[in-house]
Point group: C2
Chain length 423, copies 2
Amino acid sequence: MNTLPEGLVDALARDRADNLAGFRHRFVVPDHELIYLDGNSLGRLPKTTNAKLHELVDREWGDRLIRSWNEGWFDAPQRVGDKIAELLGAASGEMLVADSTSVNLFKLGLGAMRHQAGRHKIITDDLNFPSDLYIMQGVIKSLDRPCHLEVVHSDDGIHGPLDKLLNAIDEDTALVTLTHTVFKSSYTYDMELITRRAHEKGAMVLWDLSHSVGAVPIHLNACDVDLAVGCTYKYLNGGPGAPAFLYVRKDLQDRLENPISGWMGQKNLFQFTLDYEPEQGIRHFLTGTPSILSLTAIEPGLSLLLEAGMDNIRQKSLNQSAYLIDLWESELEPLGFRLNSPRDPAVRGPHISLGHDEGLRIDRALIEKKNVLPDFRRPDNIRLGIPPLYTSYEDIWRAVQAMKDVVVNRIYEEFSTEAPVVT
Amino acid sequence: MNTLPEGLVDALARDRADNLAGFRHRFVVPDHELIYLDGNSLGRLPKTTNAKLHELVDREWGDRLIRSWNEGWFDAPQRVGDKIAELLGAASGEMLVADSTSVNLFKLGLGAMRHQAGRHKIITDDLNFPSDLYIMQGVIKSLDRPCHLEVVHSDDGIHGPLDKLLNAIDEDTALVTLTHTVFKSSYTYDMELITRRAHEKGAMVLWDLSHSVGAVPIHLNACDVDLAVGCTYKYLNGGPGAPAFLYVRKDLQDRLENPISGWMGQKNLFQFTLDYEPEQGIRHFLTGTPSILSLTAIEPGLSLLLEAGMDNIRQKSLNQSAYLIDLWESELEPLGFRLNSPRDPAVRGPHISLGHDEGLRIDRALIEKKNVLPDFRRPDNIRLGIPPLYTSYEDIWRAVQAMKDVVVNRIYEEFSTEAPVVT
């Protein structure tokens, strides 16, 4: 008679008690041996996505051809945007899906800075996703007045510098832009607190929700958020490079310019007049023709999240993170792994980063030798994504055993310290 | 014994003699009764596109997951760009596929204007696609010096104002930006002549190739073109809203800024440093994460064009346009149809616009009653797209008979003069 390891028995019991466990079967899982812990970078493929794409390609493109623009495509950026709005506590007509997160940041960042004439400062932190800083550096070059980006530094590289940020916001601050859940450590900001402080000082906020959307409950309207962007290919499972979303609070929509003023945001665009005159409402934040294939692939994943419910998702996420941190403490900390995410669940998002001096080589060994797939973020972070909809406790337990094995048996030593292009 | 109308017999004979006729069978044509004349707006679906998307979704996304970024996705914008470069007489490494045509126009237009410090004028014409003007109006707002857009007007609304344009280019001209084949009349500019004049005066050129790419031979390097953009969903058959391309001549790549400076254009992007430092070469014109689904769908159509050869395609296009103009002259002109495209094939692109006082209602009647699908462009243009790879002479003959019938029997009278959202 085989007896299972005690830890595995415990993990399997947790899976049986998990009321969201059934959602795993709504995703394509072709390789059941693979332990996929990178859904924070690219979410899994929902089972209904292929049928949806087939319908789009065969019937809407192949058969209906150009007529499909009047039969749903033209409204797609708003239709998918409304579904995301439902997930994020925003109203219908406050969101669009279009372009990339970086392009949307540029549009809203520059639009906000022009609106905030007379103020000179954009505030962010050094835990933000670098593209957000690069884009703000570009925004500043496109302004008609000298402005600067103030980057507030984290003390430990893990926790957001909340107090320093709150103190930095002053009467000269035009815009505060932060990633809600930061990409390395998973630290998650208090959206309501920062937004309120910004508003007290007359500043606007622009939140990047890429690493929290679909995993952490977000209430954009309740927090009175001005502007937000985010990506759809992580916890929303929209597919590689799926178009991003943007949010503009209703009362700001007609007061903010879209600096990349293209025809999709033009009033009565098929009149083809020569001077740009923005459409009213959210639609003037569109620029070019939307990518219908990529847009369409976003809807199946969104439906799954709405069906599961954000509060249920967050509860499972908290349970699984706590479970992983417990395993880390008992089995991995003695082997040199550090917890590079906040211990306090109130300020922690959905992924967990574990640091190790041999982090990169351990990551390579997990992928090549153990069929465990996290990612690696410099300098030392093995980043473990545990999207609640398809990650099992068994996955987590097995991943921890694999990390132990890689270190105890020095399996990582055969790997190079040079990273592949995409880590 | 049935006897076919003489005109149809003639059309069928032309189809039998057409050495590109076989390419029609490489596209999905589910409704053989539909006469599709809007491939200049949305190209048909190549038969191999579905298999390619399946491979992408099932294997690359569903199975390989995040690993696919290292197994082809990361290079996709350049790989597909190189294929377009082959079609347009540009070198490998001079093109990218990313974002929309409008976003690419903004990047290259603003990049060029910053490079041309000290000059104050952008020149375009009133036949240009309006989005191109809207974008340039946005570019001007993002400059640190007062600049203006000079719109040169066409005398007849059909022919480009070539001489007036050449005369307008002066020492204060920073940039000349035109659509190569204009969207209403199909007038096609002499790319070499305008580019040379611009260079003589120290100006740069930015060509929008959306309505000529895949139908008119283009030689970007031979014409010494500085910058170009274009769309992939018309004659390239890349699918609805497929991402656009951009071209930057090799020697300019490291001298021009990408104003929407995102992480995909960053040097060693996975180092995640906080200051933007552009990658060398074409790649720094990338901004955000590319839409892999939409990008992948572009390749099958491109392969068909490369296989057919641009000179063969242009020859068939000229033959079919001449045939259509002959039919117009003998059968439609007497019914009040006007030729709103140039008569001279040397300055005409691949589509033909026919004007009529009842243009909009005729267009609606063709679609609703005759299963003929052109589009309509204000004020009076019935725009007939005849992409050589899948349009038959029989299609053209039948479309002309349908237009006759709609006017002779006043079928259009039951339709409203109000246009649907997308015309």
